[in-house]
C-alpha cells in the first residue's frame, strides 16, 4: 500500500495500475475510480483521488520537492 502524499489515505498501488477494461482497439484501460498516480521527477506517486493529485500539482508542479 502506498500513502497519498496529500490526504494521507492508503492507496492500493495494484488497483490503481490494474487494467479493468479495454479501449476500442484493445489498449488496457484502468478504472478512474481507483485513484490515480503521477510520474514526478522519475518516481511514481499514488493519490487517493484526482483532486489530491491536482493539489499536489499546484504545490509541487513547478519543480519543488514533495
Amino acid at each position: 500500500m502506498a500513502q497519498c502524499p496529500m490526504c494521507g489515505k492508503p492507496v492500493d498501488e495494484a488497483a490503481v495500475r490494474a487494467a479493468t477494461s479495454q479501449t476500442a482497439f484493445g489498449a488496457r484501460e484502468v478504472d478512474p475510480a481507483a485513484g490515480t498516480r503521477q510520474f514526478h521527477d522519475g518516481q511514481w506517486y499514488y493519490f487517493d483521488r484526482l483532486e489530491c493529485r491536482t493539489k499536489f500539482m499546484a504545490q509541487f508542479g513547478t519543480g519543488r520537492k514533495p
Binding site: R17, A19, T23, A24, F25, G26, A27, R28, E29, V30, P32, T36, R37, Q38, F39, H40, D41, G42, R53, M57, G61, T62
Partner: protein, 413 residues
Amino acid sequence: MDFGFTPEQEALRREVRAFIAQHVTAEVVAEMEGHNEGLLGVTPGTSRGPAVKELFRKISERGWLGISYPREYGGQGRDRITQYIVEEEFARANVNISTAGSSAPMILAAGSEEQKRHYIPRLIRGEFSFAQGFTEPRGGADLASLQCRAVHDGEDYVINGQKMFTSGAHYCTHLYLMARTDPGAPKHKGISVFLMRLDIPGITVRPLWTMQNDPRAPTRTTYGQSRTNEVFFDDVRVPKTALLGEENKGWYIGSTGLNLDRVGAARYLISVLRDEEIINWIKENRFDGYSPADDPAIRDKIAELWIEAQVCRLMTMRSMSIVEHGGRFAYEGAAEKVWAPEHGARSTETIAQMLGPYAQLLNGSPRAIEKGIFAHNVMGAFQSQINHGSVQVMRDQIARRGLDMPRARKASR
C-alpha cells in the same frame, strides 16, 4: 496574387457537393451520432457502422483520401488547394476526411522509407490512427520540460512515464510519443519521437472527462471531445525501429508535425462552422412575427462574425499556399492557431447573447436549441484555445519566429 479558384477546382467543388448530397444520407448521420471521433471511426475496433464504412469506401474510390500525399505512399499526388476544397466541403457536412492527422506529415518528413511505406498508406485508408502523446501533467504548455523517459536496453528502448490530455487514445490504434532520451542535454535537445501501437504491454489508458461530458455533447458540437485520457507507461519496450528520425532530434520533428497539422480546412472550419450554422438558423427561424434576421443588432453582430471568419479562411489559404510552394512556414500556422480559436470563443459568446437564455440549455433539455450545440460550444471554445498549442505559446512563437524577437524572460513568481 490570385484569390480565385481555377475552373477545374470549382468543378471539383460542385462534384464533391453533389456526392455529399447523394451519399451523406440520414443513415450515415445516424451512425455518426454520438461519436465525435471524426473519420478515425473507420479504424477497426471502433463503433462506426456499415453505412459510414461504405461512405468511406466510396470517398476512397474517388481518390479523395490523402489527396496531397505522394502516390508511392498511397496518396493522389495532387496539390494542397485541391485537398483544401475537398476537405472543406466534407467538413461542412460534419465528415472529417483528414484521417492522416499530424502523424503522416511528420512521418513523411522524418521517417525511414520502411516507416513511410508501413504507416502512411494505412493512415490515409483509415486503418491506423495516431493519438498524440506529448503533454504531461507537470509541463502543461511547456512541452519541452517533459519527463517521460526512454532508456536504451539492448536493441530496445524501455519507456516509463505518463502523458496527459491524450485525446483519441481510447479509439486510436497507435501513439506517437515524445520522450526524453538524454536527460543531461538542454531540454529541447534531449527528446526523441517514437511510434508504437497502443495495445502493447505496459501501456494503460485512464479516462479523463472534460466539462463537455455532462450531459454528453451532441455530435455536431465543434470544439474538442467530451473524453480525453491519461496514458501511463510502465517498462514499455519498443524496438529501435520505433524511433522516428534521429535520436534527440524529436523536438524539431514534433514541432514541425504540429505546425503542419495546423494547416488545413478542417482546422479552420472548427471555428467557422458555428458562424455558418447560426447564420442559417437566424435566417430560417421566426418567433411570433419576430424574425431575428430583420433585427439590426443581430445583423450587425452576424456581419462582424462573418468578417472575422473570412480572415480565418484567408489565413488558412495562405498557409496552404506557402506549404504547397515549399516556402518558409515559420509562424503562419501559429498566427492561425491564435486567430481561429479566439474567433471561435468570441463567436460562441456572441451567439449565446443573441439567442438569450435558451442558448444556455445543454443537450437533453427539452427546450434546448439544436440539442444544445450552442451551449456546448461555449464551453468547448475555451478548450480550443489551449489544446494543440495554447494561444499564449503561439503568440510567443510569432514573436520569436515571425518578428525575430529574443526569447521571453521567465516571469518571476
